[in-house]
């Protein structure tokens, strides 16, 4: 790791942020454990294991933070260096939109546009190939599941599928 990408005390240290998120989660788990009641050692309650797991999480998170501060760690930028970071962002956006559309529109009306978008936006597939694949595969899967395996996929408000 070059000096420019390995930072110690700066906020751009990705290891530091990873540790801080772990610490926050650990504190949340400890609080949840306490709320659920710990019980006693000869009759542990619902929060017993959560509480002690939370403590362990905090210990490991602090270890990561200490290592990040003393030894440094790569910056966020260096983690994505030479990577086409826009591509995963596009896929995540498509999947999020799909998640919102799945229930109201149903499987067919949401998965066909998802396939077209993914095929055209990741590394563009020719339209004459992208359209048939995007139509045939989800429709074929829907038919197979519904008529052969007897599994009903969401049909949405239009009742398509």
């Amino acid at each position: 790791m070059s000096d420019s990408s390995n930072v110690k005390f700066r906020l751009n240290n990705s290891e530091l942020w990873g540790g801080l998120i772990g610490l926050a989660l650990g504190i949340f788990v400890i609080r949840s454990g306490l709320k659920l009641k710990l019980g006693t050692i000869n009759d542990p309650g619902s929060g017993y294991v959560l509480f002690y797991t939370g403590i362990l999480m905090c210990v490991f998170a602090v270890t990561i933070i200490v290592a990040a501060v003393t030894e440094g760690g790569p910056t966020f930028g260096s983690r994505w260096k030479d990577a086409r970071w826009t591509k995963p962002v596009i896929v995540i956006a498509c999947l999020t939109a799909f998640a919102f559309a799945l229930d109201p529109l149903g499987f067919l009306l949401s998965s066909i546009p998802l396939m077209i978008l993914l095929m055209r936006l990741i590394d563009p597939v020719r339209w004459e190939l992208a359209i048939p694949v995007s139509l045939i595969v989800p429709t074929g899967m829907w038919w197979l599941l519904k008529h052969v395996l007897g599994i009903q996929l969401p049909s949405g408000m239009f009742g398509i599928g």
Binding site: S46, P88, V91, L95, D103, S111, V133, V137, M141, I151
Partner: protein, 502 residues
Amino acid sequence: MDTLINVAHGFGVALAPVNLLYCFIGVFIGTLVGVLPGIGPISAMSLLLPVTLSGTPESGIIMMAGIYYGSMYGGSTTSILVNIPGEAASVVTCIDGHQMAKQGRAGPALGISAFGSFIAGTFALIALMLVAPKLASVAIAFGPAEYFSLMVLGLVVLTFLTQGSMAKALLMACIGVVLGLIGLDSITAQPRLTFGRMELIDGIGLVPVVMGLFGVAEVLLNTEQVIKRDIINAKITHLLPSREDWKASAGPMGRGTILGFFLGILPGGGAVVASFASYALEKRLSKTPERFGNGAIEGVAGPEAANNAAAGGAFIPLMTLGIPPNVVMALLLGAFVIHGLQPGPLMITQNPGLFWGIVASMYIGNVMLLVLNLPMIGMWVQLLKLPYNILFPLIILFTIIGVYCSSNNVFDVYVMIAFGVIGYFMRKLGYEPAPLVLAFVLGPMMENNLRKSLILSQGDLSTFVTRPISAACLVLAVVLLIGPLLPALRRKRELVALDEGA
């Protein structure tokens, strides 16, 4: 004699036409996902977990097991021909296998890999047949303290073997335990971490978590790279290795088989560790270690035998103790649970048809794999030419369908997408998902056994150290936890550190 009768009974189950069909589907899909980089046995098994519901438990488990050991065969094809590991256990095969292919020896490399896999797979099955019933009779004496300590050991071994910082791996394991505890408390029926959502009362499903962390996250990671494939286009000939090749490979194959089998049994171990360990061993034993990395056939034979033997050995802790030693076995445990079965010490005696049927099907599956991987090699080579920009959207669509079918619940699709995004950022920041998933499965079992042992011992913590098996597991776990502080052990850990996610 009893064993032979049981095996005959097992073949009776495995040779039923429907089970033969499921076995073929399993090994075929296993080879397919092994060949295709970016999708491994974990994704394929979670995708097909709901399909197992449509048949008998025997058929479902036979298919799932077939996917696992089938992927071990298929992974080597991609490693040798494309220099990209088809799945994680074939990473080492790339080193010498692809060099052999470049030198025009792709045929012998593929041949020795398939024969080595077959021999090791068969050995592992014989050992599984002999060891599992004996271990099961010992395991009946296991109490909650032993189970708890063994699971702790399994998790620590996996975190020890995971790439990168051990603190990160342990943090992941803790998060996995917490995620596993979401839902109703099995003892008090109190809802935990459900945030008032009815969907979380039964906890988070294994399938959406695994599909998100391994399927969607893998696609996200792959889309940000331009994947270049250096496919060997020359016609593949001489698949049957020569006498010299056999002579050079016999020793590595034998050693790899034994080493792989024992590493497979180890909780937290598995095929990936076995292949790395075998490669390191062969290089160390070789009189000409400089040949390794330049097309040494020993570098293909040893690791390929080791990963297949480990795949067989990994069934032992699951079948005899009910404890999955790795993520793949955790999914297989999921398949058992879906059918209302609990693998463990009593399964072999209470459900002999299932146990011996699975073992016998693995013999048949190994023969099918030999046929699939040698005479049909041309078909897999064609498949390697499928463009990624078509493959990735298809994988995403199949994961969505697989997750929805596992529960008929749109909420699980949301969970999968969320874990896909989380998994992507985890990998980017150097946090491996394997300890999280294994802890997610083991978490509720660990909690149950911990609470039971504390109740039984009336709060006496010494119960964990006064019982010999429990004490031995905990001592080993402590050694592995403090081990990385010692430079010599840290170097060894870095040598065998693995990426189970691939």
